[in-house]
Symmetry: C2
Subunit: 212 residues, 2 copies
């Protein structure tokens, strides 16, 4: 069966900074999530993406592709990492439930012997890899069927509670910089920012996604 | 003094999803960091951005602007949050040291009475705000001088140690999915992924940026 080549806007590569196969994998994952959830891209603060990727491993580029396809961006607080080290993500849209999309092991295995990864494992950065090599592996992604690429799990009962926001802010009484109230602390009776409080880094407050 | 209007590519707004003033503020911040550090945008994995923003407050859009201007993206593990609740970021480039750029309180105060924020505080999402109102506040950002916008602190000795990556992966012996080795755990003698290990969410491993 001949598959029509999936199209990715050139600006998505410009945003990402280089041509590689995993940004396109994420782009296709994001588009698929929108389609399956029956929603448009998130102009404002609609869809949340819980990426199962972590740090210290390759293929995180997937996440830039998801952001480019869906506008569920890190800057808008719509993309969180779960630090599971998997090429997978769960997409949650208010009142629509969730969908988990994971790259199939088989597709990962199909890509693995490609010359692109021989360069990468030698420490050669994507933009230094010959263009023909990169285009070839990207074409493998763009011409694959959804069924070849992804395992899809519809999660109609998946719930997620985005953190509630506030516009309140005040100046740190030590350095004078504005601080959103959630992050003001108290030190010697003064309202101060976290660096001026001299709290140790491991005392940092993280927001843990709430989901079932 | 008349200031030439700063230009932002249209795709940066398309990526972000809406027109607002803080994506452009971040874009200008990112471009300024590249200029001050004397470097190009990060095609691969060069510059790291430590954003001082957190969650549960507005203006995080700044981070999407930084990513669009510099290609130091979340997907490439080049952008971390420090959770300080400030409109500021430190940019680190190998062998170049760092630079901290913070939005001036005065510019924040200048923007604050704008009609744009009256809409936002009523809970109206950016894309629903009249275009003329949005364009007007964006123009305030694009025509401001660097000196009106930012406090800049050059940090020649600032050091940062990005996490070391590995391509190693293996299949979880319960669910069968590929997992990067860093995130494999052991349960009943089997190598398993974090969800299959049934670790509680608060046991999640986070990577803490190391800097002085």
């Amino acid at each position: 069966m001949s598959v029509e080549k999936f199209k990715i806007p050139e600006w998505a590569f410009e945003f990402h900074g280089h041509k590689c196969p995993f940004m396109p994998i994420g782009f296709r994952m994001g588009k698929l999530a929108l389609e399956k959830l029956g929603v448009e891209k998130s102009s404002n603060h609609e869809m949340h993406v819980l990426s199962e990727m972590g740090v210290g491993h390759p293929q995180g580029c997937m996440q830039d592709g998801i952001m480019a396809a869906t506008s569920a961006t890190f800057g808008k607080n719509l993309m969180e990492r779960l630090y599971y080290g998997k090429v997978a993500a769960t997409f949650w849209y208010p009142e629509k439930g969730g969908i988990r999309i994971a790259l199939k092991n088989e597709f990962s295995d199909k890509l693995a012997p490609h010359e692109f990864f021989k360069y990468r494992k030698k420490g050669i950065e994507p933009s230094e890899i010959p263009d023909a090599v990169r285009q070839d592996i990207i074409n493998m992604v763009l011409t694959a069927t959804i069924d070849e690429l992804f395992n899809i799990k519809i999660l109609p009962d998946f719930d997620y509670k985005p953190v509630k926001g506030s516009f309140n802010k005040d100046k740190c009484e030590v350095c004078g910089e504005y601080v959103f109230e959630r992050y003001l602390r108290v030190k010697d009776g003064k309202k101060v920012c976290i660096p001026c409080s001299k709290h140790e880094p491991f005392e940092k407050d993280f927001y843990y996604p709430v989901f079932k």
